[in-house]
């Protein structure tokens, strides 16, 4: 039986009295690529922040490699964080550092490796992403796709067991998006890294997912393999996959009260 790397148990989170995440529970096992999909504002990025310990849930527990990160202190949380990497939606590279320095940062901060060894590791990680020749560039000097790949190189600098991806293909052209998807698959299959991907890009879901969960208004409405997702008759899922404006996911419903407000 595969080890559970990430587990959510009855997790809820509210902001200003509004429930953004509502009693979410699932397990992600070792080596699995788990995709969390949903419309904008469905709560999937909040879920990712809860899994990385940036946010604390109001209720429920979040386990990373068996450790409950909702109850640990800052030092223990940092230890847990060293075992995972994260690729941010807009890469979040430190713009005052070069590509090289960005990737070397976790190594310099958390290891006692010799400068030369760090340089070699950074070169290897950048080669894996096809970016060796850009190592002395600053983030502002490279394209969005390249920045994502640098972000990925930085996320795997410490050889993590888990990598979290926040919208890895958003804002990229289909080809570069495909490159990122292939890199995610390579990391998962070749290095046996557990991947947790938050996206609304359906082509990515069917290409990379071992399992996927659909989130709507902070709740999991469906969870299954890509095949199960494709054939599911869940109306939320069907509408999301088809990209239809009509269905149970209705963005305008919440605004219907405006007519009463305006006394029309």
């Amino acid at each position: 039986m595969k080890k559970e790397m990430v587990s959510l148990v009855g997790v809820s989170k509210s902001f200003d009295g509004r429930k953004i995440i509502n009693n979410v529970s699932f397990d992600i096992v070792q080596g699995e690529t788990f995709v969390i999909m949903g419309c904008s504002g469905s709560g999937k990025s909040t879920l990712l922040r809860l899994m990385t310990g940036i946010l604390k849930p109001d209720e429920g527990r979040v386990f990373i490699k068996g450790k409950d990160i909702t109850t640990v202190g800052p030092e223990e949380l940092d230890e847990v964080r060293k075992s995972f990497g994260m690729l941010f939606q807009y890469s979040a590279l430190l713009d005052s550092l070069t590509v090289n320095e960005n990737v070397a940062l976790p190594l310099k901060e958390h290891t006692k490796l010799d400068e030369n060894i760090v340089r070699i590791i950074v070169k290897m990680k950048l080669s894996l992403m096809g970016l060796r020749e850009f190592q002395n560039h600053y983030p502002a000097q490279i394209s969005g796709g390249m920045r994502k790949r640098v972000g990925l190189a930085r996320a795997i600098a410490l050889d993590p067991d888990i990598v979290f991806y926040d919208e890895p293909t958003s804002g990229l052209d289909p080809v570069v998006g495909g490159v990122i998807n292939r890199l995610i698959m390579d990391l998962s299959k070749k290095l046996f890294i557990t991947s947790v991907v938050v996206t609304h890009d359906m082509s990515s879901v069917f290409r990379i997912a071992d399992r996927a969960a659909m989130i709507h208004k902070g709740s999991v409405v469906e969870i299954g393999t890509p095949q199960q997702i494709k054939t599911s008759d869940n109306p939320y899922l069907r509408q999301f996959i088809n990209g239809s404006p009509n269905g149970p996911i209705d963005f305008f419903r919440e605004d219907l009260g405006i007519f009463e407000e305006l006394s029309l």
Binding site: I54, G85, M86, F88, Q89, L93, L94, D95, E109, R154
Partner: protein, 262 residues
């Protein structure tokens, strides 16, 4: 109106709490961090020292030399009536070292360096760079705020001393060129009335001002929200709050030095 006052009081108390919290956090990383093998990167501190200190030299020099010139001319205008023009030398030196240099240098640095720190950290906050540091298990206060705090803490007093010297030079130029005071006599009068305590009270003030600038700028930067507009707001708030706190602290410290006869 009541709502506005309540909100202002709430924001003010939150800000004070936040700044004190940040200060304690910075002290923790400076003094206790190394015991836990979490060191501050010396290269970051030197980089910030270069930015906050070396690159402010020209601006501080010009502000101080012109202040010295103006102060010499304005005091000569009064002292001439009493036939005591020679005392321009001591008046310029003492008022610069005790008061004007520390305050003007701090205001200049709050405008140049404090605003830059707030804008830089604010941009990092809204572009998820701070969040990225946290997920990499790198404490943003240790990594970003501490080097800036240390750089300002050590460089502002140096800039204040430079300002003292530049201001005295300005006064010297007016005294010897326009007022026709013998250069030797000018310097002799300067050092006759300028005491060591005049210099170190000014330098002591600059340490406090450095703490104010660094804390306000880092706090505003690290708590930036709402994108580009938020960055602009944080930058402005950083300068305005620093200015007010510097002038308040100056008044308070001057009173302490005055009443304790230092």
């Amino acid at each position: 109106m009541v709502f506005y006052i309540k909100r202002t009081i709430r924001e003010f108390s939150q800000g004070i709490k936040g700044i004190i919290g940040l200060f304690l956090n910075i002290l923790y990383w400076i003094f206790l961090g190394p015991l836990k093998k979490r060191f501050i990167r010396a290269e970051s501190v030197f980089y910030q020292m270069r930015f906050a200190g070396l690159r402010s030299i020209v601006l501080v020099f010009f502000v101080a030399i012109f202040t010295g010139i103006v102060l010499a001319m304005q005091s000569a205008y009064q002292l001439e009536k009493m036939g005591a023009v020679i005392y321009v030398a001591s008046l310029v030196a003492v008022s610069l070292c005790r008061e004007l240099s520390p305050v003007l240098t701090a205001l200049v640095v709050a405008g140049r360096v404090g605003s830059s720190i707030a804008a830089q950290l604010g941009t990092m906050k809204v572009t998820e760079q701070i969040e990225a540091l946290e997920t990499m298990a790198i404490n943003p206060v240790r990594f970003l705020a501490v080097p800036r705090f240390l750089a300002l803490f050590f460089m502002l007093p140096c800039l204040t001393i430079l300002s003292d010297l530049s201001g005295i030079l300005g006064g010297f130029l007016v005294g010897t060129r326009s007022l026709r005071i013998n250069p030797y006599l000018y310097m002799q009068t300067t050092f006759k009335y300028l005491q060591l305590k005049d210099i170190y009270t000014g330098v002591a003030k600059s340490f406090v001002f450095a703490i104010i600038i660094a804390l306000v700028a880092c706090y505003e930067g690290l708590n930036t929200t709402r994108g580009a507009e938020g960055v602009g707001r944080a930058t402005t708030r950083s300068v305005v709050i620093s200015f007010i706190l510097i002038l308040f602290a100056d008044c308070f410290l001057t009173a302490i030095f005055y009443f304790s006869k230092i």
